[in-house]
């Protein structure tokens, strides 16, 4: 073991969407910040985008599913259900994400009051509203203010992305149905911003090496490093250490270049390793911060079903940003539908790839082989539009990530396992969502509608889990939550959980704007109260 006796102000574990924001805020305040990241930097050539065989790479080496690629920066995740989507490296999962950038709404924080099948958050929408606006400025986003289905917001730093033909076709369908729609907000700049070029409409939105999409390795890390933060790559944290007083003292990590174990000590420890990595680390650190028994539990992915439709007029959905519109028509609870909570339509353009179109892109509909192939292609490519319906799933403690004590990975850490199964409310919601997707397809005049329920031949729901949240949820009660409203562990008062695992409910949208706004808020709280928090021995209800 190589030991360094320096005690840093702040140790951050994980350099993704949230760890990077914490590093920037705290380093800018003059704190001595070290971030340990298990993966390396992702170079432009590592992305699929710059290669002729980019579509093939998206299915293999650049596949966001850790179990479909073979990458040395990953750790094993054994899932009996969900597809485990994430990226381990500087910038975390933002390297492969789509950056659809919608916000929660006030009722998402008040589900305890609304029906009691989910907890209230210990904070309200109003608590994070200003941070939503500021995180947009920090990261660079695009969109159109004024959506009547959302609380008022400051203008996005750049205007909306081009309104594609797919957007126009769907807008017409929603108008015919009398349903809400709005141009999508994106973590992508539509024009030059903060040294990054505006989007060029390439359509390949799983990461973006040119940097029009806000990858935190591009938008945040250079600034954090310039402010003095130190980033140690290839540093896989094996366990967090605590002292006799129960406070965190730092972490033991494996230097993946030298193979040596090293120790880093700090006054405050921030865990930002995502909804799988954080519970994994806490459980592997002697069940740390888990007096509630909630670490790893209440895994949320959202209810998710999808449709692919094809229309006669060319819409050329291979061009333009991956998403086109959002419809918030069904975002609030209406029990007459037979379930609580709501959902949104995340309307896409289409796949950028002709190959993906023929191999079943979104719905599993494949081009026939043989004599009819080319005719099918001419009719379908350039004519497809994708739609997701994405809703608020109810928490279930049995949906979880947990350690397999009988198996360890190459670092001697027990293998993490994942189990997720939709509950009764979720199943009813997904049935309703599929019916409404058909309504949209018909209203759009589709000549073909293919639905996707993400169930395999045995009926197992294998959702593409790009959202892995809830596994260290925040709350007002230490008995039922892992952190308080400032992300501070109830059990380890100088340890903060910064990543998406703290979300108490999933809302009806992609979570990263909310995750990022929360990270900004918590980082500023640590910055503004550093003296108290670095010495505290007690976590108070926020």
């Amino acid at each position: 073991m190589s030991a360094n006796n320096d005690i840093h102000d702040v140790l951050i574990i994980g350099s993704g969407a949230t760890g990077s924001i914490a590093a920037l805020v705290l380093a800018k305040a003059g704190h001595d910040v070290v971030c340990l990241e298990q993966g390396g930097w992702i170079e432009p050539g590592d992305f699929a985008h710059l290669h002729n065989d980019w579509a093939w790479r998206r299915a293999t080496s650049w596949n966001p599913d850790v179990n479909m690629r073979s990458h040395p920066d990953d750790y094993p995740v054994d899932s009996d259900s969900s597809q485990v989507l994430m990226w381990n490296g500087v910038g975390g999962s933002t390297n492969v994400y789509g950056a659809i950038w919608p916000r929660y709404r006030p009722s998402d924080f008040r589900k305890g009051d609304e029906h009691g099948l989910q907890p209230n958050w210990p904070i309200t929408y109003e608590d994070i509203a200003p941070h939503y606006d500021r995180v947009d400025l920090l990261l660079g986003t695009s969109g159109l203010a004024g959506d009547p289905a959302q609380p008022p917001r400051a203008p996005c730093p750049t205007g909306p992305l081009p309104f594609t033909a797919a957007a126009g076709r769907l807008a017409g369908a929603f108008d015919a149905l009398g349903w809400h729609w709005w141009p999508v907000e994106a973590g992508v700049v539509s024009e030059a911003y903060d040294g990054r070029p505006g989007c060029n409409g390439c359509g390949m939105c799983n990461g973006c090496p040119r940097g029009s999409m806000t990858l935190n390795s591009r938008s945040i890390w250079p600034k954090a490093l310039a402010a003095g933060a130190r980033l140690q790559t290839h540093a896989r944290v094996l366990r967090i250490e605590t002292g006799a007083d129960g406070r965190a003292t730092g972490a033991i990590w494996k230097n993946r270049i030298t193979g040596m174990e090293e120790r880093t000590r700090a006054r405050i420890v921030i865990v930002a390793a995502n909804g799988v990595g954080t519970p994994r680390l806490l459980l592997a650190s002697g069940n740390l911060a888990n007096s509630s028994g909630m670490v790893g539990r209440n895994l949320l992915h959202h209810t998710l079903v999808a449709a692919q439709i094809w229309v006669d007029e060319p819409v050329n959905g291979q061009m333009g940003y991956v998403a086109s519109l959002i419809s918030r028509e069904f975002a609030e609870t209406d029990v007459s539908r037979g379930f609580v909570n709501g959902f949104n339509f995340n309307c896409l353009t289409s796949t950028p790839s002709a190959g993906e179109m023929t191999t079943g892109w979104m719905s599993g509909t494949t081009a026939p082989w043989g004599a009819g192939h080319h005719e099918w292609f001419e009719k379908h490519f350039g004519h497809s539009i994708g739609l997701f319906a994405i809703g608020d799933d109810l928490p279930n403690p049995d949906n979880r990530v947990f350690l397999d004590e009988s198996r360890t990975d190459e670092d001697g850490v027990p293998v993490i396992r994942m189990h997720y199964e939709p509950g009764e409310n979720d199943r009813r919601m997904m049935n309703y969502m599929l019916d409404r997707l058909e309504d949209v397809g018909r209203a759009a005049g589709a000549f073909e509608i293919a639905l996707q329920d993400y169930r395999d031949a045995n009926g197992v729901y294998r959702t593409p889990a790009w959202h892995m949240i809830g596994t260290c949820r925040m709350g007002a009660d230490p008995e039922t939550s892992v952190v308080n409203g400032w992300h501070q562990s109830w059990d380890v008062p100088n340890m903060f959980i910064m990543d998406g695992s703290v979300l108490a409910t999933g809302g009806v949208v992609n979570p990263t704007p909310t995750i990022s706004a929360l990270a900004l808020r918590a980082s500023e709280h640590i910055r503004d109260n550093f003296a108290d928090l670095s010495g505290t021995t007690r976590t108070l209800a926020a």
């Binding site: 009547p148 992305l161 809400h180 060029n200 409409g201 029990v335 191999t359 082989w369 009813r428 329920d453």
Partner: protein
């Protein structure tokens, strides 16, 4: 290599068998060249090797031999029937091969140019130059429908869930089975 004798000739034979399969999957028609004309079998073979190593190539050679590829002297109907047999008897292998063939076909520069030339804008590496799209026009593209609502924090009210019977009325048919 210890098993090299068993594998003598697999390269050219496999290549020919795979080319024949690829031509059944992606026959030429009109402007569209056939898969083998473009050499689609080569990247497919390379990717099989990348995916499963030499053992996968051996297995593939055996599977193609079982259906009689490269189909010399067979009429169209017999060739199609042979490929259908592979599809029915080894669905996973067939799916993998079909997808690999489709992907290799559509990433070929000749096909990319053909698609683009037919009037569907398409690039070999779209990320490099992107696509020309007109900028959002606030005057004509801002929604004017006025629809949409949200509930303020203070206005969130308790809903009556007593009729939902989430514990007792279980949905067994869901998803595409609903």
């Amino acid at each position: 290599m210890s098993d090299s004798n068993n594998r003598t000739g697999i390269g050219p034979q496999l290549s020919a068998a795979l080319a024949a399969l690829v031509d059944e999957l992606l026959p030429g028609k009109g402007d569209w060249p056939s898969g083998a004309t473009l050499g689609v079998q080569h990247p497919v073979m390379e990717r099989i090797a990348m995916h499963g190593g030499e053992a996968a190539l051996d297995e593939l050679a055996a599977a193609l031999a079982r259906i009689g590829a490269p189909f010399e002297g067979l009429e169209v109907d017999a060739r199609v029937a042979a490929v259908r047999r592979l599809e029915a008897e080894e669905p996973a292998r067939f799916r993998w091969l079909r997808n690999a063939a489709y992907q290799a076909y559509y990433e070929n520069p000749a096909i990319v140019t053909l698609i683009d030339g037919r009037g569907t804008p398409y690039r070999l590496r779209p990320h490099v130059r992107g696509y020309e799209l007109p900028a959002f026009d606030p005057a004509t593209q801002t929604p004017t429908h006025g629809r949409g609502h949200w509930i303020r924090t203070a206005d969130v009210r308790s809903v009556d869930t007593s009729g939902l019977n989430l514990e007792t009325e279980i949905t067994t048919k869901w998803g595409l089975q609903r």
